[in-house]
Subunit: 359 residues, 4 copies
Amino acid sequence: MSGNTFGSLFTVTTFGESHGPAIGCIVDGCPPGLELSIEDIQPDLDRRRPGTSRHVTQRQEPDTVEILSGVYEGKTTGTPIALMIRNQDQRSKDYGNIVETFRPGHADFAYWHKYGIRDPRGGGRSSARLTAPVVAAAAIAKKWLFQKFGTTFNGAMTQLGEIAIPFESWAHTSENPFFAATSDAALIARLEDFMDQLRRVGDSIGARIDVVANNVPVGLGEPIYDKLDAEIAYAMMGINAVKGVEIGAGFASISQRGSEHGDEITSTGFLTNNSGGILGGISTGQEIRVSMAIKPTSSIRVPKQSIDKQGNSVMVETFGRHDPCVGIRATPIAEAMLALVLMDHVLRHRAQCGDVSVA
Amino acid sequence: MSGNTFGSLFTVTTFGESHGPAIGCIVDGCPPGLELSIEDIQPDLDRRRPGTSRHVTQRQEPDTVEILSGVYEGKTTGTPIALMIRNQDQRSKDYGNIVETFRPGHADFAYWHKYGIRDPRGGGRSSARLTAPVVAAAAIAKKWLFQKFGTTFNGAMTQLGEIAIPFESWAHTSENPFFAATSDAALIARLEDFMDQLRRVGDSIGARIDVVANNVPVGLGEPIYDKLDAEIAYAMMGINAVKGVEIGAGFASISQRGSEHGDEITSTGFLTNNSGGILGGISTGQEIRVSMAIKPTSSIRVPKQSIDKQGNSVMVETFGRHDPCVGIRATPIAEAMLALVLMDHVLRHRAQCGDVSVA
Amino acid sequence: MSGNTFGSLFTVTTFGESHGPAIGCIVDGCPPGLELSIEDIQPDLDRRRPGTSRHVTQRQEPDTVEILSGVYEGKTTGTPIALMIRNQDQRSKDYGNIVETFRPGHADFAYWHKYGIRDPRGGGRSSARLTAPVVAAAAIAKKWLFQKFGTTFNGAMTQLGEIAIPFESWAHTSENPFFAATSDAALIARLEDFMDQLRRVGDSIGARIDVVANNVPVGLGEPIYDKLDAEIAYAMMGINAVKGVEIGAGFASISQRGSEHGDEITSTGFLTNNSGGILGGISTGQEIRVSMAIKPTSSIRVPKQSIDKQGNSVMVETFGRHDPCVGIRATPIAEAMLALVLMDHVLRHRAQCGDVSVA
Amino acid sequence: MSGNTFGSLFTVTTFGESHGPAIGCIVDGCPPGLELSIEDIQPDLDRRRPGTSRHVTQRQEPDTVEILSGVYEGKTTGTPIALMIRNQDQRSKDYGNIVETFRPGHADFAYWHKYGIRDPRGGGRSSARLTAPVVAAAAIAKKWLFQKFGTTFNGAMTQLGEIAIPFESWAHTSENPFFAATSDAALIARLEDFMDQLRRVGDSIGARIDVVANNVPVGLGEPIYDKLDAEIAYAMMGINAVKGVEIGAGFASISQRGSEHGDEITSTGFLTNNSGGILGGISTGQEIRVSMAIKPTSSIRVPKQSIDKQGNSVMVETFGRHDPCVGIRATPIAEAMLALVLMDHVLRHRAQCGDVSVA
C-alpha cells in the first residue's frame, strides 16, 4: 500500500536508494518452469545503464544483477525471484549542497513534507536509479511473453526538445545514443550538438518517447477501472519525469470525428489504429501504441530561486552527475513497464477466463 | 482483481449494466461520523445525468440514488455504504442491430473476445452509464475532503473538436450545456451550432477536459509506483473514451528547458505550476492540474466497415440514443475521479505517516 | 482494506446492517458463461434462514434474493454479480435496552470504541444476519466448482454443549433442526430437550461444527502466507462466534509422534488423513477436513454485569429474538466459507500455474 | 497474490529457499522516523536461530541480518526496508534421498503437484528456515508498537507431546531450551529426557504454544472478514506445522453457557477473558490470548510408506538435520506473527478512524 509494489498477480516489489548499499526487487507470481539465468536479464540492464555515452550521467555502475532465489537448476520454481544489484559508485559528497535546500522541480520538497525525513544522497528513493530493478524484473516477463505469444516490445525517442525524430525502423535505436529509430546521420549529429550545447550551459531538456508492443493477446484488461490503457497510463506516469501519456491517437482524438476515429474492421483485421490496440480498456490484438512526455531534469547548474528547510530564500545550483535529458534512458524503462502491465494482465485474464491467445 | 473496484483504502466497487435492473456501488473505508444524506449525493448525479440538453443522449433517467447501508441517524458508521440507482428508461430494442456486429471504435469487439459472451443492451457494462455510481461515491469523498481540508474540485471543457474554449471562471460552467468556463455567448452559440450540425450528419466529436483541485494536503502520493500523478493518470484514462492525460505542463514539457520547467519556490510559495501540483509523485500543496483528451463517440449513424461475430464483412450504422460528444458529460466524472484519488491517498498517508494538513 | 471484501480473485464485498433497508453483496471475478439463476442461490439461503425451527431466532425473513447485474440471458458475463436481499422483519424496538449499554461478550463494546458511533439495531453490522450475502455468493462458487471438478461441500454439528453427536451420514443433516449427521432419534430428542431447557432459563450454548470438501483439485494454496489452511482458518475464525479452528488432526497433533501423524502414501492414494487434505499449505487432493468451536450467543436473558457508554455499572439482560445456539445455523455458513476459499484459490492457481485438476 | 506477502499496510514480502544463496524480505509501510539498527533485529533472530541446543536442528547458521535500504542516519525513512540473511551452512547432499520421493506429512508432494518443479534442497521454500525473515521484520513492528503503546509480546510452550507445562512466569522462558514458562527443574529434565529418547528412535513430536500480547490498543480489527481474530488465525495457521488455533477460551467455548462465557465488564475493566481480548473481531484492550497446535516434524528416520515421482511405492527414511519438535522454535515465530498482525491493524485503523490508543 506504500506504493513500492508494481502489479497485482505478477508483482515487483522494489527496495533501495540511489546511494544505499544495494537496490533490487522481489518478483512474485512468475509461472514455474521458465528457463532463467542472469544472461536473460543483464542485457536489458545494460541498455539503461548510466555512463554509456557523454549525454547521460557519468556515474559508473556495472549494474550486475544477482539472482538470490526462485530459480532451481536453471528454471523458475514459482516461488519469489529476488534480484539484487550492489551500488558501486556512490559519491555522496556531490550532493552536499542539496541536503538543506529543495531543488525546483525536484521531489526533495515533497518527500520532506511527506515523511519529515529524507535521504538526500543522490535523490535517495526518488532517483531514476530505482528503475533498474524494474527493468530487471521486466526482462523475466518479456521472456515469458515472447515464448508464449511471440510478444515483442520496442521503444524510441521521437522528439528531443523541439527536434522531431521521424521513425524509420526499430533496428536503428541501438545505433545511436538516443534510442532514435533513424539512420539519418545528420539528424543524430544535430541531436548530439544540441545536447553538447545544453551541457555547456548546465541546462536540461524534455523528450517524447514512443513504445509499442506487438503480438499482444486479445482480451487483456479489466473493463472498468483496471482497463489496460488505464494501467498503462499508471505505469508510464509513474516513471520518473513523465508528465503526459497518450494511447493511440491520444490528444489528436480531440479534433477527430467519430467517422474518422473509429478503426474499421475487415475480415483480415483492423484498417487503422487510432485506438492504440485497446477498445473499452481491453486489448484487441492490434499493436499497442503508447506515447509519453518527459520533462527536463530538475537537477541543473543554472541557478534558480528556492527555499531551505527553514523556509528561507536561497539560490540553488545543482552540481554532481546528472542526466541532462532523462528522456534518453527512459526508452528501455518504458518498454519494461509496458511488459510488466501486459504480463500482469495475462495472469489476471487466465484467472477469470482461462487461457489466452494471440488473435 | 477483475477491475471493478476503484481505490485501495477508500474503495468503490461498482456493479450493473446499462440496461439491467439497477446500477450501484459499495463504498468502503469511509471514516465514521460524517453527516450524510441523499441531498449530499444527488446534486452531483444531476450534473452528469443524461437528457439535460439536446447535445447529450436523450435517454431519460432520473438517477435517483438510494442509500442501502452504512448510515445511522444521518451519520456514516464506518461500515460499507451501498448506493443503488434503478435503471428506468431501458429501450433495448434500440440496440437490436448491434447484437451480432461490432461497432468500429467500440468495446463490443474486445468484450466479445475476452469473455465469449456480452450483454449488448446499451453497451452493457462498457456503457458510460456506469460512471453514475462513481460520481455518487465521489460526492461522499468530496464532502469529507471539503470539511477536513477545504478541498474543492472544478472541471471544464477547454476544447471541443478544433474549437478552443478559453478559461474565464469556474462560475460559468453551470451556465451552459458544455461545462465551458466562459461567459462568451457567441462562443457558446458556435459550440451549439457545431453540435447541431454534427447531430444532423450523425457524426460525433472529441473534446478536451481540464480538472483542478484546490486546497490539497501536502504529502499525498506514494513515491514509486502509486505516485499521485500515476494514480490520477490511471483514474482519468479509465474514464470511457479518454485517450490521453497530462499533469501540469504535460506534453509541453517536451520542449521546455529545465531552467524554465522547474517551478521556483519562495518563502510565500511556488512561482509557477508546471508540475501541476505534484513533484516526485507527491502533492506539494499547489493546485493539482490535469488535462485529458476524449475521443469521439463510437456509436454513430455514419456507416462504417466492420465484421459480425462470424467474421463476415458488414456495414455498421448505429441508431439509438447516444451522446454525440461524450466529452460533455465527462467533466463531472473527471472531477469525481480526482476526488476519489485524493481521498484514497489521504487515508493511505494517515496509515503510514499519521495525519495530514494543507500547507 | 476495511475488511468487507472476502477473497482476492473471486471476491465478495458485502454491505448492510441487521435492521437497515437491505443487505447484499457484489461478487466479482466469476468466470463468464456459468448458467445462473435465483434457483441456484435460494436453496442455500433457505438452509441458513432464521425462523425455521423453535431452536433458532424467530425473526421472519424470507431472504429472497434479487440478482441485479452480471447475468445476461441466464449466464454470467464475467462482470460483477450484485445480489440484494431486502430486510423485512425489523423490529428495532426489541433492542431499545441495548442502545446505551454493552452486552458482555458482544461486539457492542468494541464497535463503540473503534468507530465512536454504532448502529445498535439488531447488532447492526456485527449481526450474524450478514452471513446471508456470503451464503448467496458461495452458491455461485459451489455451482462452478461442482461443474468443473465435482467438488462438494458438507457440514454437520458434531457437538452441542457437552453432547457429542457421532457422525453417521451427511444425508441425515437435513432431517433434523441441528444439521446433525445422525439418524439417532433419541439423540435428536436429547438435543431438543437441552435446547428447550436453555431457552426456558434464557441462556445459550456453544457447539462444534465440522465441514468437509470432496473432489478438491490438487495444488490449491499459496505456500508461505496464503496457505490454503491459513486462509481456511481466516475464513472460519471470521464467522461470528467462532473461537477455534482445526485442520485435520488439529489439536490432537500435539501428542502425536511423527511416525503416527504423517499420512502414508501408496500408489492408490493416502492411507490416513491427519493432514486434513493440506500439506505445506497446499491441497493434496484428499478430503479437506475442518472443525471449529462456536461460542454461546452473547445476547441472553440471564442478567450480567456490564457498563454503559458513560462507564457506569449496569446489569444487562437482553430480550428480543436471538439464536440460543448460533452454532446451529453456522453449518451452511461454514460450508459457504470453505467454498469461497477453494474458489478463490482455483483462480489464483490458474493465474500462475495454468489449469488445475482433481488428482 | 502468490502468497509471499504478509500484511496489507505494513507488509513483509519474503524470498529465499533453505539452501539458496540468501533469504530475506522487504518491509514496506513502516512509519518514518523510527530509530532502527541491526541491534534491534538481531536478538529476535538469535532466539529462533537453529543449533542453540541439542533438541533442535544442528544446522549452524549465524543468521546475521543486513539492512539494505530504508534507513538513513539511523532512522527509518518511510521507504522499503530490505533485510537479507546469507545462508551459510547448506549441506544439500543430506537431502539426496528425498529428491525423487515424497516424505509422508511433508510439503514435497503438494509442491510437486502444484508447480511441476520443486527445489528439494532442505525443503526449498517450504522450510521453516523461511520464518527467519519474518521474525526480523516483526522486530521492527515490535519496536514501534512498544514505543507507541507499550505493547509487549510473550510466548511459551505449554505442552510437549502429552506433557503439560504449567505457566509460571514469562521470565522463565529464556532459562530453558523449550521456551517453557516454568522454573520447575524436574519438569525441564523430563522434557529433555523425552526429547533425547525421541531423537534416539528417530521420531518427532507435537507441541502446544501460547502467545499473548499486552497493552494492545482498543479498536483494532475490521469487523466482517478481516476480523482481528480471523487475521491472527490466518497468521498462526500459516506457520509451518500448525494444525489448530484458538483465541481466548477456544474449543472450551463449545461446552460453555453464554452466562459463563460472556466476560462481565465493570467500570475498572473486564472480570474474565474468555474472549481472548477480541469481541466482534475487534480488540477490546484486554490481553490478546492465542493458543496453537503444532504437529510433529515430518522428516523422521522412522521408515514410512510413500511413493516416488513416478508413483511407485517406496519406503522413506529421512536423514539429515531436522528439528525433532518444530514446536520448540515456534514460540518466537508465533510472537512475531502476532506483532505483525497488530502492527498492520494499527495502520489500518489510523487510515479510516484516525489515531488509536490503549484503553
